[in-house]
């Protein structure tokens, strides 16, 4: 008897968890295939003819609404911006972060740990504190509203992340392997490029993907430091939802398109996620 109660409670718990955490995502996907009329029904329809109208409209940038004039939406540019900003940030982070991670892993040098921890603490500094003055600076020197400026600020989140994850991977490589390669007659750079990097590759790849996700998901930097010309999907979608008269299906569709890249990437880095999220403290 007691056994049955436990099993029942467990099943209920599973259902509750799935409903709360996964149903919202499923429903948004569902909405993105609906017309406005279907969404606006007081009793939700379960069976309807899914339409790709929203997706086509989003891609074309214009959507015809019956009884109204044709609407123009610029969401595609937001998607392109997100891609540019995320790929740009990750590239810069790789360029800056991998050699630094290597240095922190391999050498004990004066101030090394201090720099590493200072970089880590940036991850937890209130973003606005740094962006407010930057906003004024950038306006002055004409960097406001440029990809470059945003990518630079994005380093605030991506650099410490990559640094601390990749550092752990470099630490796991025996220095003797690198020395052996040097003794074979190769320069430091060659041993770095052909030994250390390939051996840390899984970590570097996972960290870059995680950095990509964090960059893609960032909201506050672009909100403050960019105009709509360079704003990513996170900011774009908010403007989208607050603008009147945009069909809800189109909004849902915009959201789906915005979250899809990170959701897909997340599936790829499953194995490394725990390590990445804990900045390398916990091995998953």
């Amino acid at each position: 008897m007691k056994f049955n109660v436990w099993v029942l409670l467990k099943i209920l718990a599973y259902i509750a968890i799935i409903m709360f955490f996964l149903f919202p995502i499923a429903w948004i996907f569902n909405m993105s295939f609906m017309t406005n009329e279907e969404i606006l029904r007081k009793v939700p329809v379960l069976f309807y003819e899914p339409t790709l109208k929203n997706y086509i409209g989003l891609w074309k940038g214009e959507i015809a609404i019956e009884g109204f004039a044709t609407m123009y939406v610029y969401f595609k540019q937001n998607l392109i911006n997100s891609a540019i900003l995320s790929v740009g940030s990750v590239s810069v982070t790789l360029l800056l972060g991998v050699p630094a991670a290597y240095a922190f892993a391999r050498y004990k040098f004066k101030g090394g740990e201090d720099i590493a921890f200072t970089l880590l603490s940036f991850r937890f500094a209130p973003a606005l504190l740094i962006i407010l003055p930057l906003n004024l600076y950038f306006s002055k020197i004409g960097l406001y509203d440029s990809y470059f400026a945003l990518i630079w600020v994005y380093q605030l989140i991506t650099l410490p992340l990559l640094l601390w994850i990749v550092r752990g991977y470099f630490e796991d490589i025996s220095p003797d392997i690198e020395y052996a390669y040097r003794l074979d007659g190769h320069s430091w750079f060659q041993s770095f490029w052909r030994i250390s990097i390939p051996l840390a590759k899984p970590g570097i790849a996972a960290a870059s993907l995680l950095c990509f996700i964090y960059a893609w998901n960032n909201f506050v930097f672009a909100l403050i430091l960019g105009s709509s010309q360079i704003q990513p999907v996170t900011v774009g979608a908010l403007a989208f939802i607050t603008a009147s008269a945009i069909p809800y299906g189109l909004i849902a569709c915009g959201i789906v398109v915005s979250v899809l890249p990170t959701l897909i990437l997340a599936l790829f880095i499953q194995k490394y996620l725990v390590q990445g999220l804990s900045l390398g403290a916990i091995k998953g």
Partner: protein, 362 residues
């Protein structure tokens, strides 16, 4: 003119002076064994020579050129690491070929291929060339690592206790095979080990490293028979050399020894002075018997145990002093532990050391 000249090498980590004023002159083509207890700085020394670590002080001169500031890749020195240090993402073939692929060498691929196969066949690992290090047995890893260190025919090869991490059978095989292989390459070898048998089996000369420097540099035979100090004497031999405080007095052809009241005499000539000293005598230089002889001392049997194909007896003098004696299997069969037992010394093989400095007095 020696080929490799080490002068006053010093290296410390914080306050720990690992290498202190180390000197040696090593000849071209020599098999030079560095022997020392664990933690004596053998690996550090190799790292200094290879350029992985930099010296605090001193000079490394190779072929009349000071190479202190040279990067590891500029030294023409190769090294086989104790942990093999194979590149996990490369097949055995590419591991071995790595030194030939250095930029400045410009060796065509077919020549590399030929050389890899040559050295692989010499070390009997042709059949595993297409495998990754993690698929290799320890013995194969060790051969691969050796092949990699030899293939480019470097002027000096450093071998960091290469037989340490392989099992006993392979160690035995390699001990026989290594000299032959190394001879093929005709290179100067510096070989680190903490196994005195290995050192004696392989080395042209052995350098004994402790207290940060080479305390003996000599042929295996000389070091064993005439160690410069008690410490060296203790390092060579298993079980270790018996040693005890004694008072000696020379008389004619004899040395009269007084050990805590127990007296006996050794029939040997020496020019050391009378007085207190430490006497060392190896367990195999003690003769054990049930019959008394001219200079024998009566002892009491304590216990015995087999060790390295010999039998080691622990016996005790009347004054409580304990001795280890080692005999062959056959000899031990002749001895009845229940009867009275006597020991006598192979007189010429006893050593006298200074009580304070532990230096050999002869």
């Amino acid at each position: 003119m020696s080929y490799l000249n080490l002068e006053n090498l010093s290296k410390s980590f914080k306050d720990d002076k690992v290498i202190l004023n180390l000197n040696a002159k090593i000849d071209k083509g020599e098999f030079f064994v560095v022997f020392g207890p664990s933690g004596s700085g053998k690996t550090v020394l190799l790292r200094l020579l290879s350029g992985i670590m930099l010296l605090d002080n001193g000079e490394i001169e190779m072929d009349s050129q000071v190479i202190n500031e040279f990067q590891p890749e500029e030294r023409d020195i190769s090294m086989a690491f104790q942990n093999f240090a194979l590149y996990p993402h490369m097949k055995a073939y590419d591991n071995i070929a790595s030194p030939l692929r250095a930029d400045n060498k410009n060796i065509p691929d077919d020549e590399i291929d030929q050389k890899v196969k040559e050295v692989a066949s010499l070390l009997k690992i042709e059949h595993v060339l297409n495998q990754f290090p993690k698929e290799l047995s320890n013995g194969q890893k060790q051969r691969t690592s050796l092949a990699r260190s030899l293939i480019s025919k470097p002027s000096v090869v450093l071998l960091d206790d290469p037989l340490r991490n392989v099992d006993a059978k392979i160690r035995f095989e390699m001990r026989l095979e290594l000299p032959r292989v190394l001879k093929e390459f005709n290179t100067t070898v510096i070989y680190v080990t903490q196994d005195f048998r290995e050192a004696m089996a392989l080395g042209d000369r052995i350098a004994v490293l402790y207290d940060g420097k080479f305390n003996d540099i000599n042929s295996p035979k000389n070091i064993y028979q005439n160690p410069s100090s008690l410490t060296t004497a203790k390092l060579f031999g298993d079980p270790t050399i018996n040693n005890f405080d004694a008072n000696i007095k020379k008389q004619n052809d004899f040395v009269h020894v007084d050990v805590k009241g127990e007296q006996f005499k050794l029939k040997r000539k020496t020019d050391i002075q009378d007085g207190d000293c430490i006497i060392g005598i190896r367990p195999e230089d003690i003769i054990l018997s049930n019959e008394p002889s001219e200079n024998s001392i009566e002892v009491e049997f304590r216990t015995k145990t087999p060790l390295n194909l010999r039998i080691v007896f622990l016996v005790r003098l009347n004054n409580g002093l304990e001795f280890l004696c080692s005999t062959t299997e056959e000899e031990s069969q002749l001895i009845d532990e229940n009867k009275k037992m006597y020991i006598s010394f192979l007189d010429e093989k006893s050593h006298f050391f200074d009580k304070e400095t532990k230096r050999n007095l002869e």
